[in-house]
Symmetry: C2
Subunit: 130 residues, 2 copies
């Protein structure tokens, strides 16, 4: 049922880079990581592949910080904390009680949730002490 996608070295590299970091990268950050490996990589390719990965469910857009979309490989769903000062995105565990909420949404509101994004905003440990 899927469109037939071929592999490509660059595509694989891009996905691998996203998977092997937990810094919740932006398109440009990814581009800069690929560049040393494939100096002829183009930003357009990064964007095209990001769109594809997102569509396939391989990654999700976790937030938009400073006008830039930030992505994350969808291994295990987790919660994010964004520091309002330094803009860093930090992983924290998702509260256990969360599966209950999915059920409630369905039974009480008729909403079929596929996934969620939980983000806290505030000051991280470093910025707090300034």
């Amino acid at each position: 049922m899927n469109t037939a996608h071929k592999h490509s070295k660059k595509r694989d590299t891009i996905l691998q880079i996203i998977r092997s970091t937990d810094c919740h990268p932006s398109a440009e950050w990814i581009y800069n990581q690929v560049k040393p490996i494939y100096p002829d990589i183009s930003l357009g390719t990064v964007y095209r592949n990001l769109a594809l990965f997102e569509q396939n469910g391989d990654i999700i857009a976790v937030a938009t910080v400073d006008g830039q979309k930030r992505y994350d490989a969808t291994s295990n769903p987790h919660t994010h904390f964004i520091c309002q000062h330094c803009n860093s995105v930090i992983d924290v565990e998702t509260p256990q009680s969360f599966m209950d909420v999915y059920r409630t949404l369905d039974t009480e509101h008729g909403l079929k949730a596929n996934f969620h994004s939980l983000t806290f905003y505030g000051e991280c440990d470093k910025c707090k002490n300034k």
Copy 2:
């Protein structure tokens, strides 16, 4: 300690519009609402005021849908459901257990959270049945 802000009819109108809807508007949507009232409103003014409101804590950016920031007046914190088909943003109640999470973040991770954004993605009642 605040910079002295004057009032202006347009500014007040913009905030009132945001407060009196629960559709989580984008800048452009707001602009279109103000236009019938003040035909000479400019998009720049809307953006400037949105930035101001956000800074003052009168509104928050709840999500970015289709590349457009979506805002919400900060009355009571609530949870959002975004339909992946029709892009509508729906309010749902925030689970009670949520205050615990704030405490956990502080004690276990040293993260001082100011507010959060909880968004579910999936299919709304209408789109589900297609």
